[in-house]
Symmetry: C2
Subunit: 396 residues, 2 copies
């Protein structure tokens, strides 16, 4: 049996696994250390009441002959109407009109960001931003694609624009961005859509953090930009919208208008999903739909406000310390320039050892991340304040 040896071309360990290892070693050496984690992008607030109520009901239903559900509706790629309807209404509020068959419920964005590789020929040029969420790079290396980068940096505020002289087949955009927290405006996103259309390229738009956008002058979906339905897939998740990191649900939009060489990507994705996926749990789909009910929406947006307040607390401290950063306003991520010209892992070690605060070294996200550092707003408010005080103490 011949192995896919593209795996040899990706680093053996995953960034967050490396961080975990460093933290565990530190804890072993300092068992009483009071560590505050502002590193991995995991949420901390419990699921909201509306979601808990609906999932509890769904679990009970599943235990009764009348309420039991087996495989989800095959005709709709296992997505239930109650959830696709809720999502259609959510998109309608963004002035985007979607059909049922354009909405695919998933078990989270990460699965679909990987699964979509199945639709692509090996011979494609993939354009990623640098710095980048590592999984985008890794899945493309595993698939044997040629990967090129666009530079996100201090000069362009970490929102790079397309270079028409660069040939690309697939373009990844994440806005609000992970790891930088930077958000594309309408004009910049339009430039990418126009570029993709001109290149006959596919945009994979990761909207996982869209719910953090409070500024109404910023897009929360790529389909708010004209022409996007002809060139973009949008992948979203409830992980950050509603604290579903451990509950697992997301959705992927593949518009009917998305046609390459006469082939409907929507039909291809349907075929992929019915062959290699069997749907998201009925119970979880019920919980996901509750996120978009009046109560669920209010409750989850309160949680987002809580996290955004953490981001504001971190931002205020960085302002006070005179440290440059982006993100943190319409995003749960704060991307800061390491003070005193420090390198990313150097700053990681300093924060861990001197302040017992864990963040994520920017270098883990690509060469342009070197010298930068990611903090997240997903912690407890009191603990975030405590972390900020410690930062101020060691950096002043």
């Amino acid at each position: 049996m011949k192995l896919n040896n593209n795996f040899d071309n990706i680093p053996e360990s995953y960034l967050f696994a490396n961080i975990g290892k460093k933290v565990n070693e530190y804890k072993k050496a300092n068992p009483n250390a009071d560590i505050i984690r502002l590193g991995i992008g995991d949420v901390t607030l419990p699921l909201c009441e509306a979601v808990v109520t609906e999932m509890s009901k769904a679990v009970r239903e599943m235990g009764t002959p009348e309420g039991f559900r087996g495989y989800g509706p095959e005709t709709n790629c296992y997505s239930y109407d109650f959830l696709t309807d809720a999502l259609k209404k959510y998109y309608a509020k963004k002035n985007i009109s979607l059909e049922d068959h354009e909405i695919f419920v998933s078990d989270g964005a990460k699965s679909d960001l990987g699964s979509i590789m199945d639709l692509l020929d090996t011979d494609n040029i993939i354009l990623l931003p640098d710095p980048v969420y590592p999984a985008y790079l890794d899945v493309n290396v595993i698939a044997g694609h040629k990967v090129i980068f666009s530079n996100a940096n201090y000069d362009n505020g970490f929102v790079p624009l397309p270079d028409p002289s660069v040939k690309a087949d697939v373009i990844y955009i994440c806005s609000p961005n992970n790891p930088t927290g930077a958000v594309y405006g309408f004009d910049a996103l339009k430039a990418w859509v126009d570029y993709a259309l001109a290149q006959k390229a596919l945009i994979i738009f990761d909207a996982a953090y869209e719910a953090f956008v409070g500024d109404s002058s910023l897009p929360t979906s790529i389909y708010q930009v004209e022409g996007a339905k002809k060139c973009a897939v949008e992948i979203c998740s409830l992980s950050k919208t509603a604290g579903f990191t451990g509950t697992r649900c997301g959705y992927t939009i593949v518009p009917s208008d998305l046609v390459f060489d006469g082939t409907s990507l929507n039909k291809r994705w349907q075929r992929r999903q019915t062959t290699k996926y069997n749907g998201t749990s009925y119970i979880i789909q019920r919980g996901a739909a509750a996120v978009f009910s009046d109560a669920g929406f209010r409750q989850t947006r309160e949680q987002i406000a809580y996290y955004k307040n953490n981001a504001a607390v971190i931002g205020a401290a960085l302002d006070e310390l005179g440290i440059w950063y982006c993100g943190g306003k319409n995003s749960p991520y704060i991307w800061l320039k390491c003070p005193n010209g420090m390198k990313s892992w150097e700053f990681f070690d300093l924060l861990l050892e001197k302040a017992q605060v864990v963040g994520t070294p920017g270098a883990g996200f690509g060469k342009n991340g070197e010298g930068y550092f990611r903090l997240t707003a997903f912690g407890n408010a009191e603990r975030t304040k405590e972390a900020v005080e410690r930062l101020k103490k060691i950096l002043k």
Copy 2:
């Protein structure tokens, strides 16, 4: 953007979608028809009490600050100890010793049967049985693999043995088999393990129906056969073990001993899963663990007994009608030879039109399935009896 045009080589519609279409057309033309579905392999009994209780508890936990869980443990590919421990004990009862890191919790067998393609080079020869569960074939066609078949037929009782003169890199075995219900004995399975070891081939063993094996002289895991840990991955699901078709949980075993060209498949699979998957919902993992509790095990085995009784009812009718079949004893599937030399779809139409019973045409599973027909035991007991009476009436 260049598409993966291997998709052009698979039939556009999926077998069960075709059946669904035919049934819907019949229902439109005959709105009062009382249709009994013994076709698609979906379960009908509700989740057992032990599973409902544990999932209800997990949902409530997720709504509290103390009980909330985000991403699953990354170090264990997002599988929780409480579930891997339960699975280790389940395998120990089969005299198989597993380590935590050899057990990967999934959202179902179908996902992992597809995802495992990522580990394989395109240049591999895949040996499938014919007839075959369509997804095995489709995922390999999508991946661009060369597929060859071993003939399962009347003469070998639908349990083909390896032909040492045939070169294969990856071998699929499903036992108890879908669609035929045939079950491999120890000697036959040992022949496949020896063949795989000699060929340096990988066996993908689908054990989704293992819980239906009542005969203790039959293996329920490939690892009960010596040498299997050096050549086989085992993919299993709780869909049929515990009625999880709509709840979604399975597990995949990738032994540490599985090494190809000096590369650990276990480590590769870990890397694949941490990159392209984010784990199974905590709530669902709690439900899955409950399946292996004393109460859960008893309750789910009672459900299996109920389904096996349906299989016995169908089998008795076929015996009475003098129709040859296999399966139905240690399997939920009954694979019958269409009477009077009828073709599979011909028999499908006859049953639908004359008896309003829906089954699955054997031809949908491959050329050796032509002239055969699959019935499943997953229906309601009374309805199954009614279906059997209708069959007797039209076939006597």
